[in-house]
Symmetry: C2
Subunit: 336 residues, 2 copies
């Protein structure tokens, strides 16, 4: 059966924001499989802030997406045909399958997902998959929390931030979230159990952190960078840990963004600032999934997923990660 693929290709590199104008829609016939290959029909595509870093001309933690190449994206799908003995028709798989209806893969980087007919892509992307793993390993492995300490989370109403704060509460921390609207602040405090929240668009962040973290900040889970990092550094404790998960405030800047002017706090507080990428934790995924699944079953952790319908809407939807108009996890249902 000849299948027609539908794809978003990277057409141009963005000077600042990644917009629909940077993509080109493409339709072409899916080629016949070579030995060792599988054909995957994508079902759900994850939109993540890190997508922005992949389209710069310089490498981030992965090589740049080339101009004319299918846009890179984390997705799940179903094996439709297989010439690879490790995969069978009907297998559910996960990987960097790209912004397209069909992907041909030699198996590199593919992960098999449970065959359970109750498998729920929203639970997977909102809680158990790379988002949950990022929150789990970032906070616990890099942040090394001790009960009674104070955790501050930025982009606290985002997919990772909202889970991180809740994992912090489960570990006995005081948790203060920073978000960009009063609605988001209400959501994380009233529904997710954060102790307090700061609307960085309307409140003086450094001063509010001082008030809301009377014992100082022990762990900062950094998703944004820029002025908020500086405000947090003003208020860190001795031996504070700054977990660098993302720097979303800088991804779209056409110019280099200066770092915090108070980096000397790292020295006088003997603090540690450490970056991490969830890809490095792939072999420990079961540990995170087991814990996150249990906490969810016990009612200790909630997540929110917003589903955009149709691959054709992916470029427009991606912008919502950067304009502050979403909460929780954003995914695309590939076929509407």
């Amino acid at each position: 059966m000849a299948r027609i693929n539908r794809q978003w290709l990277l057409a141009t590199r963005p000077a600042d924001f990644l917009t629909p104008a940077n993509f080109r829609w493409n339709e072409q016939q899916v080629p016949a499989l070579n030995a060792g290959e599988v054909l995957i029909g994508l079902t759900y595509l994850s939109l993540d802030p890190t997508n922005r870093g992949w389209v710069n001309e310089y490498a981030s933690y992965l090589p740049p997406v080339a101009i004319g190449e299918v846009m890179r994206g984390i997705a799940i799908g179903t094996v439709l045909e297989s010439r690879n003995p490790r995969y069978s028709e009907g297998d559910r798989v996960h990987g960097l399958l790209g912004w397209q209806r069909y992907a041909v893969s030699d198996g590199t980087g593919l992960t098999l997902l449970p065959k359970d007919p109750g498998f729920n892509p929203e639970v997977f992307f909102g809680l158990l998959g790379h988002i949950g793993m990022t929150a789990y390993f970032g906070l616990l492995d890099i942040g090394k929390p001790r009960p009674g300490e104070t955790l501050v989370v930025s982009a606290a109403a985002g997919a990772v931030g909202s889970l991180t704060g809740q994992i912090g509460k489960i570990h006995g921390l005081r948790v203060v979230g920073i978000a960009g609207s009063d609605d988001k602040c209400r959501w994380i405090t009233r529904e997710l159990g954060f102790d307090a929240a700061i609307n960085y668009k309307s409140e003086p962040v450094s001063q509010r952190l001082k008030e809301l973290c009377p014992k100082g900040i022990d762990i900062y889970f950094e998703n944004v960078g820029g002025a908020i990092l500086e405000a947090v550094l003003d208020n860190i404790n001795l031996h504070a840990r700054i977990v660098v998960c993302g720097l979303i405030s800088q991804y779209n800047s056409p110019q280099p963004v200066p770092g915090p002017a108070n980096l000397g706090k790292i020295l006088v507080c003997r603090a540690r600032m450490e970056g991490f990428i969830v890809l490095d934790y792939a072999d420990r995924g079961m540990e995170a999934m087991t814990a996150l699944g249990r906490w969810h079953a016990e009612g200790k952790i909630r997540y929110r997923v917003e589903v955009v319908r149709g691959l054709e809407n992916a470029p427009t939807a991606l912008q919502r990660l950067f304009d502050g108009s979403h909460r929780g996890k954003l995914i695309v249902r590939v076929e509407d």
Copy 2:
């Protein structure tokens, strides 16, 4: 016997550089000792870049020196009188004794030094004391070097930097130093065994680092901050460690100095930036002294000490730490 003390008091806070105009000379009679106190006659005073941070109005890792107070300084001296059972006349002691001829102490923060008549204050300040400990614990405990890795050291002809590079060589690292003159670069490569050196005043640092560190930078021992930190971040490897020992380029700035614009490298390289203060290692001093003493006896490590004569010259001499006109360790012989 009535003794007249001679002291440098902090008269005003510096707007930028700490100069003799910020100090006031004072002479006053040494008071009689209370029970529990000792009178110490200072012999040698250490001048350190960190002194600058102690005179700002905000706290660094120690509270600020108050206006009108004796300038804080690390020094050694001899117990002249004692009303404290832990100390006897003739004991040699070390501590934050201040910029003065005599210090009265209740013993807080004092350390007893060996009674050995061969005790050499130059060896102590240049190699075995807080300078050696800073290089030793900063590189080994925070930097965690593995043989074959590449170490970059800034302020590499300074007291700490010159030892750090040599300890790096002892541990099988490729060592590249950054210093502020061709003379200093020659000294660290030809006499101290650094593999290469960069004169940051005449060479493009990022490009030279790329050439001189063909396998990238695994450890950066940071003494300066600013543009050099940014150039180093350009060239770090996956899982690099940035040991924040000092940020001398920023200490004298009247305005906050922006941090590096490429802090995102911490994220994509999963790097760790960590501050430390040698005071935290006080209880492990013997470990460092033993190793440093052995390496020196084996001819594997050299140090350089410059002695300024006379307490009255301390404020003028301190400026040399910041104008780049010295190498190695700067100390003041209190009585000329």
